[in-house]
Symmetry: C2
Subunit: 254 residues, 2 copies
């Protein structure tokens, strides 16, 4: 399991596997959920990829991501049908054998009568050698962790249960703190003074997020993020003062 | 502009740029929209990546994707603030200069009074040399196309307007046709006979999508996809017959 390095930062990537996401038929609900969840426990998501149900693509993306980040979370492709090839792809990426795992088979039997545990359903018990199972409290068929890769279902309710199951075992870092500041101002009026403040606070990331509503026009929310509460507070104070100046019309934007 | 090859397949990737997606603060709504839109006009999305507001990351992902796919669609990072670095990153990826573009500046002036067109807002007129503008019918600040890369806004309403503006100019392929078949059966009962049918129809992709609802349990929808309407129809007929057999209990799953 990856450990936090000296910087206190633990990184992750999300790998979404599935033709149905790429065709637009299914609108992904997992990326945003996992990203928010991991941020809240102190793991920074640095990259997301979505790849099709093609073994070479899954293997290549998984190897690129697991080499680079502390954790990789995959979703999708662990069901019983011919297009569910995630477990086999992960085994190939790690260069380990894969077969029906007695622990996983036993879990399936908690839900599926033995006479219905056909060859297709047994595919859900195929687990790469050396992997630890991830409990599925919804429908039993487990996910698994091998090395720094956590393999989860694509169905959101099941994925969420698996994330709850695996999260407590993860090395996490210093939590990223954030402060959201609605401005009531246009982004183009804030940009220059915000950029100046950003230079004074290189350790506080300052994001500016425009929204647009028909009839209302643009709105801007600033989000400050840092692992240091004191620095975050100091930056927020300076930003709030800048916004007050802007609103009063005293700060002339150039 | 990329042309459809002999296979009639035109490929694309989506590159989402933005820390706010990776932190989970903003839930992406663009990937699913673009994927469905492109599928409907005959362009196959093969890969999606989400990267942070970091120039090296944007450049590396963009170069990997534009080499590999016919089109790349980016979203996010083209506003007026210091964290909007997409246009500069794209220029670097292509190795071309970037500066304020008179055409883009003129568009901004259609919406922004000249005395409010400050240095920050003028950043939205920075366009890499050789790029064509993509019209923004919502708020004027344009996107742009350079080579096979289409750079769009992150705000969904604006991105959607830009996609409408750029789509008619794109080379597209033979449209992927699909047929959705609700089964009323469990995925594990369908898996084996469906796998057999898939082998007989290598040119028709057969996806199986489980849903799970609390209290209801699993439901399964099959989605058949092909560019050949006759083959799609033939495959659907065979699948429907298989499902009828399964429902009647005559087909014994092994």
């Amino acid at each position: 399991m990856a450990e936090a390095d000296d910087s206190g930062v633990v990184t992750a990537a999300i790998l979404v596997i599935g033709d149905e996401i790429l065709s637009g038929r299914t609108k992904d609900k997992n990326i945003g959920y996992i990203a928010e969840y991991l941020t809240n426990v102190g793991i920074d998501v640095h990259e997301v990829r979505v790849v099709p149900d093609v073994e070479d693509e899954i293997v290549a993306a998984l190897n690129a991501l697991r080499d680079r980040y502390d954790h990789v979370f995959t979703t999708g492709g662990i069901g019983p049908t011919h297009d569910d090839i995630t477990a086999d792809s992960v085994a190939r990426a790690f260069g380990v054998p894969i077969d029906v795992d007695p622990r996983a088979r036993a879990l399936l039997l908690e839900r599926i009568p033995e006479d219905q545990l056909n060859a297709a359903r047994l595919r859900m018990a195929r687990i790469p050698e050396g992997a630890e199972l991830i409990e599925n409290s919804v429908s039993k068929a487990p996910g698994f962790t091998i090395g720094n890769v956590h393999v989860m279902a694509g169905v959101p309710t099941i994925m969420q249960a698996m994330l709850d199951a695996v999260a407590p075992s993860l090395a996490t870092g210093r939590k990223m703190l954030s402060r959201s500041i609605p401005t009531g101002l246009k982004e183009g009026d804030i940009a220059a003074p915000l950029g100046d403040i950003q230079k004074d606070f290189p350790d506080v990331s300052m994001g500016s997020y425009p929204g647009f509503e028909e009839g209302v026009g643009f709105t801007t929310t600033l989000v400050l993020r840092s692992r240091d509460e004191a620095r975050l507070g100091a930056a927020a104070t300076v930003v709030e003062a800048m916004l007050a100046e802007l609103r009063s019309g005293r700060l002339v934007d150039t």
